[in-house]
Amino acid sequence: MDGNAEDIDAEVLRSLAESDRAEESFRVLAEPRVRDVLRYLFEHSKVYLDRLADVVAGLEATRTDAVVEGIDRETVRVLLYHSVLPRLDAAGFVDFDPERKVVTEADVPPAVYAALGVTGE
């Protein structure tokens, strides 16, 4: 699967466009790392930053088909901490506690999960 362009059903896109927070939804869905985080949260409603960094780094390994080293995983962790998670928090999709370094699923529109392919809708 290409990490940059995924097939999203036209119906799903339509619901997404008509949903609450459509604009934020489209923005977040544009980035592979954000998609990885949201998909993981769909099945694990609370996760610590370290585990999330491991998972996102591992998923990048599947996209590039290369070995992801410790330094790459550190880069992912820094990006999650400083950029991805604060933005998702600001958009209301997650609660990110930077002190405890834990992320909790807050309020992700069903249309977003459908667009991510994790639900059957």
Binding site: A57, L59, A66
Partner: protein, 245 residues
């Protein structure tokens, strides 16, 4: 250290965790079968159905060491065997992949997997074009099968090859290439181990070794490493115990 068995014991002490992330955790079954020992703990984690799986290795201190896709990991376990001088464009990739599992004890590698690991060590020696490669064959049949490879090393490269083989009074050692030094061991540990040790021509960054014990017919228990101290230990043992340089 006294024996090759001690080297394997030492590596077994350094615990690792392999985490397999997959939509179906049963995808980890083959990984568990190959690696679960007292050295390696295999953990299975679920991913949402849309994600491709990956494998993550943790060091003894439980920190993220490296990750690769499950597909690439499977290719690592079912490698192609090629000749060491047939270097390909994917050299770097194959070295990265080989590095992924260094110091991780495998429990039942077959001959093909052992040969592929053997080629990784030989390729490094071939590229360095100097130093000494110590090769242990359990018996003269195994040696005869590889003799053309080592003959070529002896003639066409700066690498000195020292081959160790268990004594077999019946077999015909004159079939071995005349340019290869053969050290014959009378009924000791050599008969049980398959090893390749490259001394890196003195450069720590080029040292590497493969060491495995045949624990059941055609099945090997062992590891490979790029760790210079481990390689130095094995080289010292071979030199002192067998009186070679």
């Amino acid at each position: 250290m006294n024996r090759l068995a001690d080297v394997i014991d030492g590596v077994e002490q350094r615990r690792k965790t392999i985490e397999v992330y997959a939509t179906d955790p049963e995808d980890a079954a083959d990984v568990e079968a190959q690696f679960a020992t007292r050295n390696v703990r295999v953990v299975k984690e679920r991913l949402p159905p849309i994600e491709a799986g990956f494998v993550l290795v943790r060091d003894a201190d439980d920190r993220f060491a490296r990750a690769m896709s499950l597909d690439a990991f499977r290719r690592l376990l079912s490698p192609e065997v090629r000749l060491p001088w047939k270097l390909t464009k994917t050299d770097t990739e194959s070295a990265d992949v080989f590095d992924f599992l260094q110091n991780t004890v495998f429990t039942s590698y077959d001959r093909r997997q052992m040969l592929a690991a053997t080629r990784e060590i030989e390729e490094r020696a071939w590229r360095v074009d100097g130093g000494t490669l110590y090769v242990g064959f359990q018996n003269t049949d195994a040696l005869a099968a590889q003799t053309s490879v080592y003959g070529r090393f002896a003639r066409d490269s700066g690498v000195t090859v020292r081959v160790f083989v268990e004594d077999d009074p019946v077999a015909n050692i004159v079939d071995v290439d005349v340019d290869v030094d053969v050290i014959v061991d009378d009924g000791g540990e050599i008969g049980e181990y398959w090893f390749l040790v490259f001394d890196g021509d003195g450069n720590d960054l080029q040292k590497c070794a493969l060491l495995a014990e045949e624990r059941s017919p055609g099945r090997y228990y062992g590891f490979w490493t790029y760790d210079p101290w481990t390689v130095d230990d094995v080289v010292s043992h071979l030199r002192s115990h067998y009186g070679v340089e």
